[in-house]
Amino acid sequence: MESIVYGIVTASIILLGSVGFSMTLNAENFINIAHGQMLLLCAYITLFLNAYMSIVPAAIIGILVTGVFGVLFYKVFYRPIKKRGAMVLLFTSVGLAYVINGVVGTIFGTTTFAYKIPNVKEIIPGMTPYQLLIIIAAICSTLFLHYFLTKTKIGKAIRAVSENSDLAKTRGIDTKRTSNYVWFIASSLAGLSGVFLGVIGSIHLEMGWNQILIILAATVLGGLGSIYGVMAASVVIGLSMELGVLMIPSYYRLAIAFAIIIIVLLIKPDGLQSLWNKSGKRVA
């Protein structure tokens, strides 16, 4: 039973990191490796601000600033080369990931840090108020994103652009504007996830690299193009890690997760989304 709680907490952390990533992947068709470093960037900006104010305002400012950075990075680095294809974009984002990581390392140094926050006790086994917040944040951000993309005008425009950007343009949708929204929201969500990682663990230079791989895995396992797929994938990975260690030595925690990913993809080559989404097969 406790393991299920642990699994849900782990799943929420993965989900929180992955929603923003899957948004840029869906809307811009772009595997953004620098997404992991946006987590890191926000964690460190918040850390800096936390020296002058309490964690909540620090995190809010940090997240907004990270969102702005996201838009900026898009305009400076990605938009000019958007026509050059997925590979060029992907490796440009790797380059940018190095730049962010390097600059943060140069400014803050290489030691590990933590926020000034009170220590808390578990309210039920496996869950402190912080973890509860993470679960709520993960669910809310997913619901928000879903609502935003399906119900709001700008959200619908984003989806139209992601399906066919030329057609969207002819319909008079301002693709530049929709892109700005995408990058702001995706980067802010990355930032939120980065702050939470700092809250439950520590802030260090490797945190972005560690996260991006599991984020990539969850997003692909979910099936590209599906927010619910990412949600399902996060739960599958989270639960398989925590339930898996009951049976298999804990050092295989990650290996279990990856083994499950392999098995699922061999059975369902289009990811978990194909379980309910029979027709909407994205042509890769």
Partner: protein, 317 residues
């Protein structure tokens, strides 16, 4: 100063040559064929461990690993290649039907699982402690001050051989078929090219060369530990072929050399030991900028692929 720099340069170039072998292998499957393989390091790891386990002497007290037959190096290198291709076959057989991103993450997952096994199964690989003080080829014939050049020469020859083989493959009917599949699969199908058979062949051949590269990597590092085989190698080699020019074999070599040189020559940016730690982070940022700059101004890579003639126009996005 000059001889010292030359010595350091030869050490860097040796490393670049090893990466070039992996890059050539990856280029065949990822560039010529269009496979998004994010697990190429698994072939390198399996090759390296196969080579080591076959060529070292049996495990001594406090160590534990399988085999330790003390076989000659060339047997080890060959076995490393074969092991690499066996792993490629085993991974490729079920996964090659997957599309781009899904294939990417599955191969990545396999590489992680393999590394976890090497890390945790002590009886197999001596675990995280690894195996130390491994032999280098022809070492006994030369003085230590000359040896780095000999190792470099040996690897340059190896890169040349691998290049010739991969180059011939690329421009053979086999290579053309791969490119046809990459550019327009439905059309290739009508021409009677069966994707599954061609993909697995490309994958297995890449596995072979990447496997041998594992052995060369052990020559260079003289140590083997699971931590050598993280996804860093995969990313690195991918970057090398992308900046060198995807599907161009010379590009794979040039990309490897440039990327290693760019990274290592930054060591000469020295502001004194008081700033060394912060500078190390700064250098990562500079390397990132170099990568971004190359991709911006040479998006097809430094040496773009030479278009082979297809009867119908290719659809490049």
């Amino acid at each position: 100063m000059l001889t010292g720099t030359a010595l350091f340069l030869s050490s860097i170039l040796t490393l670049a040559a090893i990466y070039a072998v992996i890059a050539l292998a990856l280029n065949l499957e990822a560039g010529v064929d269009g496979l998004w393989d994010l697990g190429v390091v698994s072939f390198v790891a399996v090759g390296a461990y196969t080579y080591t386990m076959l060529t070292v002497s049996p495990a001594s007290a406090g160590q534990s690993y399988i085999m330790g037959f003390g076989l000659p190096m060339w047997v080890g290198v060959l076995a490393a290649g074969i092991a690499g291709s066996i792993v490629a076959f085993l991974i490729g057989k079920p996964t090659l039907k997957l599309k781009n991103e899904y294939f990417l993450i599955t191969t990545f997952a396999f590489a992680e699982v393999i590394r976890q096994i090497l890390t945790n199964e002590r009886w197999l690989s001596n675990g995280v402690a690894g195996v130390y003080n491994l032999a280098q080829p022809f070492k006994t014939y030369f003085t230590p001050s000359v040896y780095p050049y000999i190792l470099l020469l040996l690897l340059v020859i190896i890169v040349f051989i691998v290049y010739v083989v991969v180059h011939r493959l690329t421009y053979s009917t086999f290579g053309r078929s791969l490119k046809a599949l990459r550019e327009n699969e439905p059309l290739a199908l009508t021409a009677g090219i069966r994707p599954d058979r061609f993909h697995i062949r490309a994958f297995v051949i890449a596995g072979f060369f990447a496997g041998t590269a594992g052995a060369f990597y052990v020559w260079y590092s003289t140590v083997i530990t699971p931590s050598l085989f993280t996804s860093d190698i995969t990313f690195f080699v991918w970057m090398a072929i992308v900046i060198g020019g995807l599907a161009n074999n010379k590009g794979a070599i040039v990309g490897s050399v440039i990327f290693v040189l760019a990274g290592e020559s930054l060591r000469f940016l020295d502001l004194g030991s008081g700033f060394a730690v912060r500078m190390a982070s700064m250098k990562i940022a500079i390397l990132g900028l170099i990568l971004i700059a190359i991709l911006k101004w040479r998006p097809q890579g430094i040496l773009p692929e030479k278009k082979v003639k297809f009867s119908n126009s290719s659809k490049n996005s």
